[in-house]
Amino acid sequence: MRLLDYFRKDTSQQSASMAKERLQIVVAHQRTSRNQPDFLPEMQREIIRVIQKYVKIEQDQVSVQLDSNDACSVLELNVTLPQ
Protein backbone atom coordinates (compact mmCIF):
# COMPACT_ATOMS: atom_id res chain seq x y z
CA MET A 1 0.00 0.00 0.00
CA ARG A 2 1.40 3.33 -1.04
CA LEU A 3 1.03 6.64 0.73
CA LEU A 4 -1.55 7.81 -1.81
CA ASP A 5 -3.70 4.70 -1.36
CA TYR A 6 -3.69 5.27 2.33
CA PHE A 7 -5.64 8.49 1.96
CA ARG A 8 -7.81 7.35 -0.93
CA LYS A 9 -11.05 5.97 0.42
CA ASP A 10 -13.45 6.59 -2.44
CA THR A 11 -14.70 3.05 -3.09
CA SER A 12 -16.29 3.89 -6.43
CA GLN A 13 -12.80 4.47 -7.81
CA GLN A 14 -11.64 1.05 -6.76
CA SER A 15 -11.22 -1.63 -9.34
CA ALA A 16 -12.77 -4.36 -7.17
CA SER A 17 -16.11 -2.55 -7.04
CA MET A 18 -16.05 -2.11 -10.80
CA ALA A 19 -15.39 -5.83 -11.10
CA LYS A 20 -18.37 -6.59 -8.89
CA GLU A 21 -20.77 -4.34 -10.81
CA ARG A 22 -19.73 -5.79 -14.16
CA LEU A 23 -20.03 -9.34 -12.85
CA GLN A 24 -23.51 -8.74 -11.48
CA ILE A 25 -24.72 -7.72 -14.94
CA VAL A 26 -22.97 -10.51 -16.81
CA VAL A 27 -24.11 -13.19 -14.39
CA ALA A 28 -27.72 -11.96 -14.34
CA HIS A 29 -27.74 -12.19 -18.13
CA GLN A 30 -26.13 -15.62 -18.04
CA ARG A 31 -28.80 -16.87 -15.65
CA THR A 32 -31.76 -15.74 -17.73
CA SER A 33 -30.34 -17.67 -20.67
CA ARG A 34 -29.60 -20.75 -18.54
CA ASN A 35 -32.96 -22.40 -19.03
CA GLN A 36 -33.50 -21.30 -22.58
CA PRO A 37 -33.56 -23.77 -25.43
CA ASP A 38 -30.47 -23.80 -27.66
CA PHE A 39 -32.32 -22.44 -30.69
CA LEU A 40 -33.22 -19.17 -29.00
CA PRO A 41 -30.10 -17.14 -29.90
CA GLU A 42 -30.36 -18.14 -33.56
CA MET A 43 -34.08 -17.36 -33.58
CA GLN A 44 -33.33 -13.98 -32.03
CA ARG A 45 -30.82 -13.19 -34.79
CA GLU A 46 -33.31 -14.22 -37.43
CA ILE A 47 -36.08 -12.08 -35.96
CA ILE A 48 -33.72 -9.12 -35.89
CA ARG A 49 -32.84 -9.65 -39.56
CA VAL A 50 -36.51 -9.70 -40.49
CA ILE A 51 -37.27 -6.51 -38.59
CA GLN A 52 -34.20 -4.82 -40.07
CA LYS A 53 -35.59 -5.37 -43.54
CA TYR A 54 -38.33 -2.87 -42.70
CA VAL A 55 -37.03 -0.64 -39.92
CA LYS A 56 -33.57 0.63 -39.11
CA ILE A 57 -32.78 -0.82 -35.67
CA GLU A 58 -29.70 -1.97 -33.79
CA GLN A 59 -29.12 -5.42 -32.30
CA ASP A 60 -29.61 -4.22 -28.75
CA GLN A 61 -33.02 -2.70 -29.48
CA VAL A 62 -34.56 -6.15 -29.65
CA SER A 63 -34.86 -8.49 -26.74
CA VAL A 64 -36.26 -11.99 -26.92
CA GLN A 65 -37.05 -13.87 -23.76
CA LEU A 66 -38.71 -17.17 -23.07
CA ASP A 67 -40.51 -17.48 -19.74
CA SER A 68 -41.87 -20.82 -18.71
CA ASN A 69 -44.28 -21.60 -15.95
CA ASP A 70 -46.00 -24.88 -15.22
CA ALA A 71 -48.69 -24.73 -17.84
CA CYS A 72 -47.11 -22.91 -20.76
CA SER A 73 -44.17 -20.95 -22.11
CA VAL A 74 -44.42 -17.32 -23.17
CA LEU A 75 -42.13 -15.88 -25.81
CA GLU A 76 -41.67 -12.21 -25.09
CA LEU A 77 -40.42 -9.98 -27.88
CA ASN A 78 -39.51 -6.38 -27.15
CA VAL A 79 -38.58 -4.07 -29.99
CA THR A 80 -37.72 -0.43 -29.43
CA LEU A 81 -38.56 1.37 -32.65
CA PRO A 82 -36.83 4.62 -33.51
CA GLN A 83 -38.98 7.79 -33.51
Partner: protein, 270 residues
Protein backbone atom coordinates in the same frame (compact mmCIF):
# COMPACT_ATOMS: atom_id res chain seq x y z
CA UNK B 1 -21.86 -46.19 -0.94
CA UNK B 2 -19.17 -43.68 -1.83
CA UNK B 3 -19.90 -39.98 -2.08
CA UNK B 4 -18.76 -38.53 -5.40
CA UNK B 5 -17.28 -35.02 -5.28
CA UNK B 6 -16.32 -33.13 -8.42
CA UNK B 7 -13.74 -30.35 -8.23
CA UNK B 8 -14.60 -28.02 -11.08
CA UNK B 9 -14.31 -24.39 -12.23
CA UNK B 10 -14.83 -23.78 -15.92
CA UNK B 11 -11.76 -21.57 -16.09
CA UNK B 12 -8.31 -23.14 -16.32
CA UNK B 13 -5.46 -22.77 -13.88
CA UNK B 14 -7.50 -21.66 -10.87
CA UNK B 15 -6.40 -24.50 -8.58
CA UNK B 16 -8.60 -27.54 -9.28
CA UNK B 17 -5.78 -30.07 -9.23
CA UNK B 18 -4.18 -28.46 -6.17
CA UNK B 19 -7.59 -28.65 -4.48
CA UNK B 20 -8.37 -32.22 -5.56
CA UNK B 21 -5.03 -33.39 -4.17
CA UNK B 22 -5.53 -31.45 -0.93
CA UNK B 23 -9.13 -32.42 -0.29
CA UNK B 24 -8.62 -36.05 -1.28
CA UNK B 25 -5.61 -36.31 1.02
CA UNK B 26 -7.49 -34.51 3.79
CA UNK B 27 -10.44 -36.90 3.61
CA UNK B 28 -8.05 -39.85 3.79
CA UNK B 29 -6.21 -38.27 6.74
CA UNK B 30 -9.57 -38.06 8.47
CA UNK B 31 -9.88 -41.82 8.08
CA UNK B 32 -12.10 -42.07 5.00
CA UNK B 33 -11.07 -44.38 2.20
CA UNK B 34 -10.68 -42.03 -0.75
CA UNK B 35 -9.85 -42.23 -4.46
CA UNK B 36 -8.83 -39.20 -6.51
CA UNK B 37 -9.60 -39.53 -10.23
CA UNK B 38 -7.87 -37.40 -12.86
CA UNK B 39 -10.33 -36.58 -15.67
CA UNK B 40 -7.90 -34.34 -17.56
CA UNK B 41 -7.41 -36.63 -20.56
CA UNK B 42 -4.27 -35.71 -22.49
CA UNK B 43 -2.99 -33.35 -19.76
CA UNK B 44 -2.33 -35.64 -16.81
CA UNK B 45 -1.12 -33.62 -13.82
CA UNK B 46 -2.60 -34.99 -10.63
CA UNK B 47 0.13 -37.66 -10.51
CA UNK B 48 2.79 -34.91 -10.33
CA UNK B 49 1.02 -32.95 -7.63
CA UNK B 50 0.59 -36.18 -5.65
CA UNK B 51 4.18 -37.23 -6.31
CA UNK B 52 3.35 -40.61 -7.84
CA UNK B 53 4.24 -39.87 -11.48
CA UNK B 54 6.86 -42.63 -11.63
CA UNK B 55 4.44 -45.26 -10.46
CA UNK B 56 1.88 -44.81 -13.24
CA UNK B 57 1.49 -48.05 -15.19
CA UNK B 58 -2.13 -48.08 -16.29
CA UNK B 59 -4.59 -45.21 -16.53
CA UNK B 60 -8.29 -44.32 -16.57
CA UNK B 61 -8.76 -45.11 -20.26
CA UNK B 62 -6.95 -48.46 -19.98
CA UNK B 63 -9.55 -49.45 -17.41
CA UNK B 64 -12.47 -48.23 -19.51
CA UNK B 65 -11.16 -50.17 -22.50
CA UNK B 66 -10.69 -53.30 -20.41
CA UNK B 67 -6.89 -53.31 -20.88
CA UNK B 68 -6.35 -53.24 -17.12
CA UNK B 69 -8.39 -53.87 -14.03
CA UNK B 70 -9.26 -51.03 -11.69
CA UNK B 71 -7.13 -52.70 -9.06
CA UNK B 72 -4.10 -52.68 -11.37
CA UNK B 73 -4.56 -49.02 -12.31
CA UNK B 74 -5.20 -47.52 -8.87
CA UNK B 75 -2.01 -46.20 -7.27
CA UNK B 76 -1.85 -46.53 -3.51
CA UNK B 77 -0.45 -43.37 -1.92
CA UNK B 78 2.84 -43.95 -0.09
CA UNK B 79 2.38 -41.28 2.57
CA UNK B 80 -1.27 -41.36 3.43
CA UNK B 81 -3.30 -44.40 4.45
CA UNK B 82 -6.67 -44.96 2.76
CA UNK B 83 -5.68 -42.93 -0.31
CA UNK B 84 -5.62 -44.01 -3.97
CA UNK B 85 -5.05 -42.19 -7.25
CA UNK B 86 -6.35 -43.04 -10.71
CA UNK B 87 -4.21 -41.20 -13.28
CA UNK B 88 -5.60 -39.69 -16.47
CA UNK B 89 -4.69 -41.10 -19.82
CA UNK B 90 -2.29 -39.19 -22.04
CA UNK B 91 -4.22 -40.15 -25.17
CA UNK B 92 -5.24 -37.32 -27.47
CA UNK B 93 -8.59 -38.96 -28.10
CA UNK B 94 -11.01 -36.63 -26.30
CA UNK B 95 -13.83 -39.13 -26.76
CA UNK B 96 -12.04 -41.75 -24.67
CA UNK B 97 -14.22 -41.06 -21.63
CA UNK B 98 -17.78 -42.29 -22.07
CA UNK B 99 -20.78 -42.15 -19.74
CA UNK B 100 -20.91 -45.94 -19.70
CA UNK B 101 -17.17 -46.34 -19.09
CA UNK B 102 -16.96 -43.73 -16.34
CA UNK B 103 -20.20 -44.98 -14.77
CA UNK B 104 -18.86 -48.51 -14.59
CA UNK B 105 -15.65 -47.42 -12.87
CA UNK B 106 -17.53 -45.26 -10.37
CA UNK B 107 -19.94 -48.11 -9.63
CA UNK B 108 -17.06 -50.43 -8.93
CA UNK B 109 -15.32 -47.88 -6.69
CA UNK B 110 -18.53 -47.00 -4.87
CA UNK B 111 -18.66 -50.35 -3.06
CA UNK B 112 -15.17 -50.04 -1.70
CA UNK B 113 -14.60 -46.33 -1.04
CA UNK B 114 -16.11 -43.60 1.13
CA UNK B 115 -15.22 -40.70 -1.15
CA UNK B 116 -14.40 -40.35 -4.83
CA UNK B 117 -12.86 -36.99 -5.76
CA UNK B 118 -13.04 -36.14 -9.47
CA UNK B 119 -10.44 -33.62 -10.68
CA UNK B 120 -12.10 -31.93 -13.65
CA UNK B 121 -10.26 -30.47 -16.62
CA UNK B 122 -10.91 -26.83 -17.51
CA UNK B 123 -13.61 -25.88 -19.99
CA UNK B 124 -17.11 -27.17 -20.57
CA UNK B 125 -16.26 -29.92 -23.03
CA UNK B 126 -16.53 -33.68 -22.78
CA UNK B 127 -13.91 -34.20 -20.04
CA UNK B 128 -15.43 -31.58 -17.76
CA UNK B 129 -18.95 -32.90 -18.40
CA UNK B 130 -17.85 -36.47 -17.60
CA UNK B 131 -16.16 -35.32 -14.38
CA UNK B 132 -19.34 -33.68 -13.08
CA UNK B 133 -21.97 -36.01 -14.54
CA UNK B 134 -22.16 -38.48 -11.64
CA UNK B 135 -21.38 -36.01 -8.85
CA UNK B 136 -23.26 -35.85 -5.55
CA UNK B 137 -21.40 -32.71 -4.51
CA UNK B 138 -19.41 -30.08 -6.37
CA UNK B 139 -16.53 -27.97 -5.13
CA UNK B 140 -16.49 -24.93 -7.40
CA UNK B 141 -12.96 -23.54 -7.31
CA UNK B 142 -12.98 -19.80 -7.95
CA UNK B 143 -10.33 -17.08 -7.92
CA UNK B 144 -11.36 -13.54 -6.89
CA UNK B 145 -11.18 -12.34 -10.46
CA UNK B 146 -13.84 -11.52 -13.08
CA UNK B 147 -13.34 -14.29 -15.62
CA UNK B 148 -13.06 -16.98 -12.98
CA UNK B 149 -16.28 -15.87 -11.25
CA UNK B 150 -18.19 -15.72 -14.51
CA UNK B 151 -16.97 -19.18 -15.52
CA UNK B 152 -17.93 -20.56 -12.11
CA UNK B 153 -21.46 -19.31 -12.72
CA UNK B 154 -21.42 -21.05 -16.11
CA UNK B 155 -20.36 -24.31 -14.49
CA UNK B 156 -23.14 -23.94 -11.90
CA UNK B 157 -25.61 -23.66 -14.77
CA UNK B 158 -24.21 -26.85 -16.27
CA UNK B 159 -24.46 -28.66 -12.92
CA UNK B 160 -28.14 -27.62 -12.87
CA UNK B 161 -28.90 -28.96 -16.31
CA UNK B 162 -26.34 -31.56 -17.40
CA UNK B 163 -25.58 -33.62 -14.30
CA UNK B 164 -27.17 -37.02 -13.90
CA UNK B 165 -29.03 -35.75 -10.83
CA UNK B 166 -30.51 -32.94 -12.92
CA UNK B 167 -31.40 -35.24 -15.80
CA UNK B 168 -33.12 -37.70 -13.50
CA UNK B 169 -34.86 -34.97 -11.52
CA UNK B 170 -33.24 -36.14 -8.30
CA UNK B 171 -32.10 -33.90 -5.46
CA UNK B 172 -29.65 -31.41 -7.04
CA UNK B 173 -25.87 -31.65 -6.73
CA UNK B 174 -24.75 -29.99 -3.49
CA UNK B 175 -22.63 -26.99 -4.42
CA UNK B 176 -19.74 -25.51 -2.45
CA UNK B 177 -17.75 -22.38 -3.19
CA UNK B 178 -14.00 -22.63 -2.62
CA UNK B 179 -12.32 -19.28 -3.10
CA UNK B 180 -8.61 -19.76 -3.73
CA UNK B 181 -5.56 -17.54 -4.22
CA UNK B 182 -7.14 -14.96 -1.92
CA UNK B 183 -5.06 -11.96 -0.94
CA UNK B 184 -6.67 -10.05 1.96
CA UNK B 185 -4.23 -7.19 1.58
CA UNK B 186 -5.31 -6.48 -1.98
CA UNK B 187 -8.94 -6.84 -0.91
CA UNK B 188 -8.40 -4.20 1.76
CA UNK B 189 -7.19 -1.62 -0.74
CA UNK B 190 -10.00 -2.39 -3.15
CA UNK B 191 -7.90 -4.16 -5.73
CA UNK B 192 -9.49 -7.58 -5.38
CA UNK B 193 -13.02 -8.91 -5.03
CA UNK B 194 -13.78 -9.81 -1.41
CA UNK B 195 -15.20 -13.10 -0.14
CA UNK B 196 -18.51 -11.31 0.41
CA UNK B 197 -18.52 -9.98 -3.17
CA UNK B 198 -18.02 -13.43 -4.67
CA UNK B 199 -20.57 -15.03 -2.32
CA UNK B 200 -23.02 -12.31 -3.32
CA UNK B 201 -22.62 -12.98 -7.02
CA UNK B 202 -22.50 -16.78 -7.04
CA UNK B 203 -24.96 -17.27 -4.15
CA UNK B 204 -23.76 -20.73 -3.08
CA UNK B 205 -22.50 -21.76 0.38
CA UNK B 206 -18.86 -21.04 1.15
CA UNK B 207 -16.73 -24.11 1.83
CA UNK B 208 -13.50 -22.25 2.41
CA UNK B 209 -11.05 -19.54 1.46
CA UNK B 210 -7.52 -20.58 0.53
CA UNK B 211 -5.03 -17.73 0.72
CA UNK B 212 -2.51 -17.04 -2.01
CA UNK B 213 0.50 -18.87 -0.70
CA UNK B 214 4.06 -19.67 -1.69
CA UNK B 215 3.66 -23.03 0.02
CA UNK B 216 1.49 -24.24 -2.88
CA UNK B 217 4.28 -24.04 -5.46
CA UNK B 218 6.76 -25.48 -2.99
CA UNK B 219 4.41 -28.39 -2.33
CA UNK B 220 3.89 -29.12 -6.02
CA UNK B 221 7.64 -28.90 -6.64
CA UNK B 222 8.05 -31.65 -4.08
CA UNK B 223 5.06 -33.69 -5.18
CA UNK B 224 3.35 -33.36 -1.81
CA UNK B 225 -0.22 -32.10 -1.50
CA UNK B 226 -0.10 -28.76 0.33
CA UNK B 227 -2.52 -29.99 2.99
CA UNK B 228 0.37 -32.02 4.44
CA UNK B 229 2.17 -28.73 5.17
CA UNK B 230 0.72 -27.97 8.58
CA UNK B 231 2.84 -24.82 8.86
CA UNK B 232 1.35 -23.20 5.78
CA UNK B 233 -1.85 -21.16 5.95
CA UNK B 234 -2.99 -22.75 2.68
CA UNK B 235 -2.54 -26.21 4.20
CA UNK B 236 -4.49 -25.25 7.31
CA UNK B 237 -7.23 -23.61 5.26
CA UNK B 238 -7.61 -26.81 3.20
CA UNK B 239 -7.82 -28.86 6.41
CA UNK B 240 -10.64 -26.59 7.62
CA UNK B 241 -12.44 -26.97 4.30
CA UNK B 242 -12.26 -30.76 4.60
CA UNK B 243 -13.76 -30.57 8.09
CA UNK B 244 -16.62 -28.46 6.74
CA UNK B 245 -17.13 -30.92 3.90
CA UNK B 246 -17.58 -33.54 6.62
CA UNK B 247 -20.27 -31.39 8.18
CA UNK B 248 -18.27 -29.78 10.98
CA UNK B 249 -18.69 -26.13 11.89
CA UNK B 250 -15.31 -24.41 11.62
CA UNK B 251 -14.63 -20.65 11.71
CA UNK B 252 -13.10 -19.18 8.57
CA UNK B 253 -9.50 -18.10 9.07
CA UNK B 254 -7.01 -16.07 7.06
CA UNK B 255 -9.62 -13.63 5.75
CA UNK B 256 -7.88 -10.59 7.20
CA UNK B 257 -4.55 -9.09 6.25
CA UNK B 258 -1.81 -9.09 8.84
CA UNK B 259 -2.02 -5.84 10.76
CA UNK B 260 0.81 -3.54 9.83
CA UNK B 261 2.18 -0.47 11.53
CA UNK B 262 1.63 2.91 9.94
CA UNK B 263 5.30 3.08 9.04
CA UNK B 264 5.40 -0.06 6.94
CA UNK B 265 2.17 0.95 5.21
CA UNK B 266 3.51 4.34 4.25
CA UNK B 267 6.71 2.82 2.98
CA UNK B 268 4.79 0.30 0.87
CA UNK B 269 6.52 -2.60 2.57
CA UNK B 270 4.83 -5.92 1.88
Amino acid sequence: MAKIIVVTSGKGGVGKTTTSAAIGTGLALRGHKTAILDFDVGLRNLDLVMGCERRVVYDFVNVINGEASLKQALIKDKRTENLFILPASQTRDKEALTVEGVGKILDELANDFDFIVCDSPAGIEKGALMALYFADEAVVVTNPEVSSVRDSDRILGILHSKSQRAEQGREPVREHLLLTRYDPQRVNIGEMLSVADVEDILAIPLLGVIPESEAVLKASNQGQPVILDGQAKAGQAYMDAVARLLGEKVEHRFLEAKKKGFFSRVMGVR
